[in-house]
Symmetry: C2
Subunit: 189 residues, 2 copies
Amino acid sequence: MEALKQRILKDGSFRADGILRVDSFLNHQIDVKLLNEIGKEFYSLFKDSNINKILTIEASGIGIACIAAQYFNVPVVFAKKAVSKNIDGVLYQAPVFSFTYDRECIITVSKNYLSEFDNILIIDDFLAKGNAIIGLIDLIKQSGAKLCGAGIVIEKGFQGGGDMLRDMGIRIESLAIIDNMDEHSICFR
Amino acid sequence: MEALKQRILKDGSFRADGILRVDSFLNHQIDVKLLNEIGKEFYSLFKDSNINKILTIEASGIGIACIAAQYFNVPVVFAKKAVSKNIDGVLYQAPVFSFTYDRECIITVSKNYLSEFDNILIIDDFLAKGNAIIGLIDLIKQSGAKLCGAGIVIEKGFQGGGDMLRDMGIRIESLAIIDNMDEHSICFR
């Protein structure tokens, strides 16, 4: 998606520890107009997949998923990273290691909101080593739902998670895939 | 907002520990059509306030804020509840006690995204004792931005936070105010 790549080049920045900072438009301050273009693009890619629910994970995925859900006309479910008093009953759970927060967490979805009758599109902001997506797929498998694919805003291709998931037969559609980056340049696939 | 009140009566449930569960449409599974009606209502209430940015707090506020931001045509900034590798530089921070998670957290916004030139609308899903809103107001004060008011989806009027904030001169617009509730009934103001 050309507008996204141009925005990453204009406003993204690379940090020495391997983090790509896009907090001015994607995961701290959010450019909702750009999110609309992203949502339209996900719809264009997955409109024939009979998606009836979008699954994402808190926190940065939620805004992207909600804006995209308007085009699909389906509800969003977001996996929680901590057990909250707001959900109870029987839960699907899976461990996920977060490099952003440098700790493992247990992601959780209530059994009320994923079932064998669901055709799920996963949406998330980043795909690096694939840990969050693997955790979400684990929840989907526990529920018996069908996974139609994953829509990712930015894939760090050089970390290998996207290609590992594609090799498992999962449809991964990333709107920008970065093959390498350093302080001087960001190269897209 | 009548459609919201009817939805709370239809799908909300009261738990003995005082929690109102609305996880089927608001804070775990999200009914994006309802969020659009909520966003329109916030716009109708605050359209003359020259809002240039919406501030919310992760996680449940993000979807509501992003959908509402489409009507205001402004960006969203969400305060983070944990220090993440995705933000750095100089930060505004404030302590907030979360009753949902039964622990205090430090909420954080980068200084890049709040300034004296901003006219801020706070949006959040719930207002109970007002702790989260007080924390967000603290961040806004540190930045020198102007607070135009807060748009809340559900206020638990019986917990007093909304009236405390109104007594401080802050404009609080809650789309449904619950004055009391038990296992048999939910009464709106």
